[in-house]
Each structure stands twice: as C-alpha cells, then as structure tokens.
C-alpha cells in the first residue's frame, strides 16, 4: 500500500495562526505519525479522511487520489472508504452496540437490515468477541470494550485504510498493551494498512514500520525500520529513541555474539 501526502493548510482563529506543511509518503502497511500535541498530526489524518480540506496539495491512498487541488479532485468524506478510530471512539450514544456496528450497512429503504447484513454484523461481533454486548449502550461499556466496538464499526465496510487518532491514550497501561496486540491481529485478518497517530514511543515500536515525526506543523523526520540495521545512517535521533529497545536488543545480541565467539 502506498500513502502519499503533500498538503498545505492554514488555520486561523483570532490572532493565532497555524500553518501545516505536510509532505511524506509511506510504502509500509504500518505507518506512525509521531509528534507533540499541536504539531499538526491530527490535522493531517483529518485531511486524509476529508474532515478538513487543505488549501492545496495531493492525498492519495494506494495510487487513487482522494484530494488533488491541481486536478480539482476532492472526494467527499463518505466516498473515501477510510476507516477512522476517534480518540474517544465516537460511538453513537443513542444506539446499542449492535446498531452502532450495523450503522454503515443501513440503507434509507428498507428500514430493516437485509439478512445478509444481519449475518455480517453477527459475524464481525463474534470475531471481535463482543457478541454479549449487542444490546448494551456505549455508556455502559469499559474503555477496551468501546475500542473493540469502534473497531468493528470501522472495519465492517472493509475500508482501504484505517486511521487511528491516539488509539490507546484513554486506556490504562495493561489494557494498552493488549489492545496493541489486538490491533496488529486485526491488521493481519483484514489486511488493512494502518496509520497511527501517537505521542507514545511504545506505539512506534509496535506500529512504526515507517515513522513520520511532526513538529510545529512540519515533517521533521521520516524513518524506516528496515534501515535500522545501520544505526549510523541518515535516520534521525528521534526515531532511534523510539526504537531504542529494539535497537538495544539487536546491538546487545551482536555484542554477546562477538564476545562468545571471541572467547
């Protein structure tokens, strides 16, 4: 999967002005956009989803342009086929878990879901292990349950890319670790590329095959995990900090090996 982004967007409110200039591309199925809050990373995935419109530039997923100011392309959000996991999940509070998940399948007419769609909802609820929650309302769910429901709802229409906005920040650390593993599993099962926004280096270790670091509305660094073998190459120090555990492990093993063979 190839994700190409090259956009400019200026936000102005009152006397404050924020300028986003984001240009990067990723060939990996796991991309992490890393940066402090206010660095423009959220704005960037909102632009991919079509929630904000850049002044100019181009956004393409898998070679298909979602936005291209030169060619006058700007697909409306509903036609972009992206999945989006909001930071606090945005489950519809007036609908049950089952109705939330069935939401994208429902047509204006007939009012009832087709039996195929019903089956689809039942199956995805089973695969996310949330069947027992079908009749619950979002307010009754724990953080982890909410996240599973939100993921099931995002995946039921088989999006071509899944965007996640700080997906684990609302969870405690044990659950965070578990949900990371579940998300990797979902990526495998649905073969969907992920773009994860985070300011947690632990997420970078798990999801950052390509790491894009934002600061002050600009792309500061782009690094690739595969180049990690040569730590002195052009990859920036921030990437190394994020990947430090893996890097350390690799170096230590190499050292141990050297010591063992030397003695």
């Amino acid at each position: 999967m190839r994700l190409e982004i090259d956009i400019r967007k200026t936000l102005q409110s009152g006397g404050r002005r924020f300028e986003l200039t984001a240009a990067f591309s990723s060939r990996d199925d796991l991309t992490v956009i890393f940066g402090a809050s206010g660095s423009g990373k959220s704005l960037t995935i909102q632009a991919i989803a079509g929630l904000v419109t850049p002044e100019r530039g181009r956004i393409a997923v898998g070679g298909a342009a979602l936005f291209d100011s030169q060619q006058g392309i700007n697909l409306p959000t509903r036609k972009r086929r992206v999945g989006y996991l909001f930071q606090d999940y945005a489950l519809f509070p007036h609908l049950t878990v089952r109705e939330n998940i069935a939401y994208p399948l429902k047509k204006a007419w007939p009012l009832k879901l087709s039996s195929d769609s019903q089956l689809e909802v039942t199956e995805i609820m089973e695969s996310f292990e949330i069947s027992h929650l079908a009749a619950s309302y979002p307010a009754e769910l724990s953080g982890g349950q909410k996240q599973r429901v939100a993921l099931a709802r995002a995946m039921i229409k088989k999006p071509s890319i899944l965007l996640l906005d700080e997906p684990f920040s609302a969870l405690d650390s044990m659950l965070r670790h578990r949900m990371r593993m579940e998300l990797l599993d979902i990526r495998q099962r649905f073969a969907v590329p992920l773009v994860v926004i985070t300011h947690d280096p632990a997420d970078v270790e798990v999801f950052g095959d390509t790491l894009v670091i934002f600061a002050n509305g600009r792309v500061e660094e782009i690094s690739n995990r595969k180049k990690l073998a040569a730590p002195e190459d052009e990859d920036g120090w921030r990437a190394k900090v994020c990947w430090r555990a893996q890097w350390k492990k690799k170096n230590l093993t190499a050292q141990n090996f050297a010591m063992a063979s030397g003695s």
């Binding site: 989803a49 959000t77 509903r78 989006y84 519809f92 307010a139």
Partner: protein, 222 residues
Amino acid sequence: MPDLTPLWLTLRVASFATAIAFAFAVGFAWLTARFAFWGRDFLDAILTLPLVMPPTVLGYYLIVVWGRNGWLGSWLSAHFGISLMFTWQGAVLAATVVAFPLLFKSARAAFEGVSTEYEQAARILGDSELRVFFRITLPLAARGLLAGTMLAFARAMGDFGATLMVAGNIEGKTQTAAMAVFDAVQAGNYNLANTLVAIMSVVCVTILVMTNKLASRGRAGR
C-alpha cells in the same frame, strides 16, 4: 355546562402554530448552531425578539406585514383573494410568532450540545449530509427539541395581545381561551371564567412538569 368552543379553538391554533414554529425553528437553529456566518448574532437577535417585545407591538408588526395593505398581505389578497386578518389562521400566525423564540432557543442549544464528532463519524461511515442530520443530529437533540416544543405549545396557547391585534376577538371564530377569560370576567360570568382558568392551568402545569422531567433526564445522560 359552559361553552368550551374557545378551548377547542385554542388547542387547534396552538397545535398548528407549534407545528409551523417547529419547522422554522429547527431549520434556523441548525443553521446558527452549525455554521459561523456573517450576521449570525444579528439573525439570532431578530429571531429571539418576539420573546422580549410587547405582544401588541408584535401584533402591529404582523399587521404591517400581513395586513390587507401589508407587504405580504397585499400579495396574498391580489393572487389568492384571501386575507389572514380576523380569521383563525391569523390567530395561528400570531401564536406562531410568539411561540417561535422558545423553540428556536431550545433547538439551538440542543444542536450545539450534539458533538460534531458524532456527525464526522457518521460521514466517515458513509452518510450524506441529509442522513447525518436525520440519523445523528436530530435523534441526539430530540430531548431538547421536545422540551422546547412543549414550552412553545404552552406559550402559543396562552397568547393574548398579538392574537387580539391580528385576529380580533370574534366569538366562535377567533376567540381563544385567553380572550374568553377576559370577556367572561368583564361580563361577570365567573362560572365560565373559573372553568377555563382551571383547565388552562392544569394543562400548563402538566406541560411544565413534563418539560422539567425531560430536562433533568437529559442532564443525567443515559
């Protein structure tokens, strides 16, 4: 048994007025709650004006606009040969304008209370703007809308001044309960006055209690 015609007329007038006010209030409330446009605060002020102006002044404005020589009234009589003055439809017009701000204010607050994130989520899940409104915005604002509707209905039932200016006080034709009470007291018919006052008080208290219930349940959340 006293003559209860004014009560039935009041119910009819208030029902039509509330329905018309609802349609306009929801439209304007959605517009002002979701879009920041030039002159929005001014529009809000104009739409709220009937809440604070004397009903007779409102009635006068309505005559200027809808009267036989009025701005819209002359057009109506020229093209359709009808006039709203001194008809029960005129009373509906007066009650609509008087009740509108209550519905508009509640509806705007209700729409502003619906997080735009839910609407964005619905768009991402494939909804058009129309579907977002009917599947997300409207249901999530329903409690506030219903409370506003009931308040507006109570207000429409009780209007005196604006209705008197536009529709007059014609017995059996435009005489609503509020005016019938006035006439009954003037004529010393306390039997009729007591009956009408008692019924109207019960209806209004019921409406207010129900509105409060809705509002408090709305705060508690689901």
